[in-house]
Every structure is written in structure tokens, then in C-alpha cells.
């Protein structure tokens, strides 16, 4: 899993805050855990709300989740933003090249003929905002989970495989004729 740039040390520091108190200066550890919140963390409605919010506010696009949607384009763009801290895993955005170009054009007001660095940058930023919006839905997650800088993969005929995740949300969305997928992979929860 790609986790470059995750502020792991800062997050780990917050996960076990030491509290000093009393005459004997005894230390207590306030353990923060997401284990008890796993149902809220994995609530699929949080992902749908995050996707709709990011697309509406940043792109003025209304998109809706549909069952059974899968990106079938040979050439596709995948952006990955890693989670580190109490939850480890990743947010993955995937679309066909044409859809990625449309999204980048809507973001920037520019026209693109092909996947260039600006398109990759734009898709990476969309994934970054999706990851941030999703973790922001659960306060304990927002405060104790860091994000990596986005990594963007382009090419043909590739698959992304994660072995035995703790949980996974995999949703397909549509706007007009375009579809994209957003996946939240959690491979560790403290």
C-alpha cells in the first residue's frame, strides 16, 4: 500500500496522549480506539456523501452512486491517497481516461487532449479531497488519521489488489455518461 508522506509520527503521538496528574505524578494513557466505532467508520453512506459533496462543490457536478458500475475502459487513471494512524489503508479513485480528462477540464477550465501532468494532478487532488471528506465524517478518524500525498497511476490493463483488508467499500458513481469508482480499503484499525 502506498503511504508516502503520511504524518505517522504526529498521528501516533496523538493516539496515546499522556496525562500527568495527582501528587505522585502518575501517568495515565488515554487510549483512542476506532475499534468501537467500526460500524460508523465503515458506514457506506459516509463515502456516498463525501463523493457527492466533493463533486458538487469543486466541480459543480451532481453524481449518483449506482449498483454494478465498473470502469471498463482499457486506459484508466487511478489515484491513491494513503491513510496512516489509527486507521491504515487507502482511498482509491479510478476512472477511464476520457472521464479523467472531463473532470480535470471542469476543475481547471482548461481543455485537454490527453492525460498530462495537469490531469494527473487534478485527479490526485480529487482523491485527496475524497479521502479528507470521508475521514472527516467520523471525528475520531479526522483527528487520528493522517493522509499521504496522492500517487497517480495511468496505463492500460492493470489491477489493484489488496490482500485481506479489514473492510473495504467499493462504490461506482455516474454523472451523465461518465462513470468512476471510489474504493476505501482499510487494512488495519486500532
Amino acid at each position: 500500500m502506498l503511504l508516502n508522506g503520511v504524518h505517522a509520527a504526529a498521528v501516533a503521538g496523538r493516539a496515546g496522549n499522556k496525562v500527568h496528574g495527582g501528587a505522585d505524578e502518575r501517568e495515565q494513557t488515554m487510549a483512542v480506539s476506532l475499534r468501537e466505532s467500526v460500524e460508523r467508520v465503515s458506514d457506506p453512506r459516509n463515502l456516498d456523501a463525501s463523493v457527492e459533496e466533493v463533486f458538487r462543490l469543486m466541480l459543480a457536478i451532481e453524481c449518483k452512486r449506482e449498483a454494478g458500475l465498473a470502469v471498463a475502459d482499457r486506459e484508466s487513471v487511478t489515484a491513491v491517497v494513503g491513510f496512516g494512524g489509527l486507521l491504515s489503508g487507502a482511498c482509491v479513485f479510478r476512472s477511464g481516461a476520457g472521464t479523467a480528462i472531463k473532470i480535470a477540464a471542469q476543475m481547471t477550465g482548461m481543455e485537454f487532449d490527453a492525460i498530462d501532468n495537469t490531469v494527473k494532478d487534478g485527479i490526485g487532488e480529487i482523491c485527496n479531497m475524497l479521502a479528507g471528506a470521508w475521514k472527516g465524517k467520523v471525528p475520531e478518524l479526522a483527528a487520528n488519521c493522517g493522509l499521504s500525498v496522492p500517487a497517480v497511476i495511468t496505463g492500460r490493463d492493470y489491477n489493484l489488489h489488496v490482500q485481506a483488508p479489514e473492510f473495504q467499500l467499493h462504490h461506482g458513481y455516474r454523472f451523465g455518461e461518465d462513470i468512476f469508482e471510489v474504493t476505501i480499503v482499510c487494512d488495519g484499525l486500532q
Binding site: M58, G109, E125, M129, G136, P139, A142, A143
Partner: protein
């Protein structure tokens, strides 16, 4: 409103353009924009160019936005210039850290041009 010189710090060039567009939509037509992709680059800009407003992301490679803020204060750069953080990080802890480091405003991504207007214009007018 007279000319405003803004420094926008974000590792995403697309996001820098979106922030610039939002500032213009907020009514800052006479805008001169300086851009930086990291906190370190932002510090270099501040050493050579006067600015009236700084907008910075938090999660960036090399030097993140919070360290950028601390370095601005430590190096006595852009004194009195309002800094607004624009970031995906939305927890109270992040807001607190940003304010402690010297930020005067905080905008969560995704944002609307209206939010930028509400949170940035009063700071620019006051400065």
C-alpha cells in the same frame, strides 16, 4: 479594492489555480499571485517579494503548511500578513494547531468561492 499580492502555497498546481480563481470570484480583481509548491518554496518567495495575503495547504511534501507557518514567524517574514489555511484536514486538532502556529483563517477542501469570500475578504480589508 487596491491591488492585492497573494502567495498561494499548495503542492497541486491545479489547486493553486482553483484558489486563485476563487479569490478573483470573491472580488479581488486586482490580484497579483505568487505560487509555491512547498513550504520551503513559499519561504523563498517571502524573502524576495512583499505580499498582502498568504493561503497555504497543510499536507505538502518537504515542508508542510504548519511548519511553513512556524518558519514564517521564526524568520520574521511577512509580519502582520494574514495567513489562511486551505486543507482537507478538518479536525479541531488541526484547526487548533494552525491557529497556534499563526493562521488567521481556515478553509476546508472542498470549498466554495462563497466560503473563500466570507473568510478571506474581511482579513484583507482589516490588513
Amino acid at each position: 479594492m487596491s491591488e492585492i499580492r497573494a502567495l498561494i502555497v499548495d503542492d497541486s498546481s491545479v489547486m493553486r489555480k482553483i484558489v486563485e480563481r476563487a479569490l478573483r470570484q470573491a472580488g479581488l480583481d486586482a490580484l497579483v499571485v505568487h505560487e509555491a509548491a512547498t513550504g520551503a518554496e513559499g519561504l523563498e518567495v517571502l524573502k524576495t517579494k512583499p505580499v498582502d495575503l498568504i493561503l497555504s495547504d497543510i499536507n505538502m511534501p518537504t515542508m508542510d503548511g504548519l511548519e511553513f507557518l512556524r518558519q514564517i514567524r521564526a524568520q520574521h517574514l511577512a509580519e502582520g500578513v494574514p495567513v489562511v489555511m486551505i486543507t482537507t484536514e478538518s479536525s479541531e486538532e488541526h484547526v487548533k494547531q494552525a491557529i497556534q502556529a499563526g493562521a488567521r483563517g481556515y478553509i476546508r477542501k472542498p470549498f466554495t468561492a462563497e466560503q473563500v469570500k466570507e473568510r478571506v475578504l474581511p482579513l484583507v480589508r482589516a490588513a
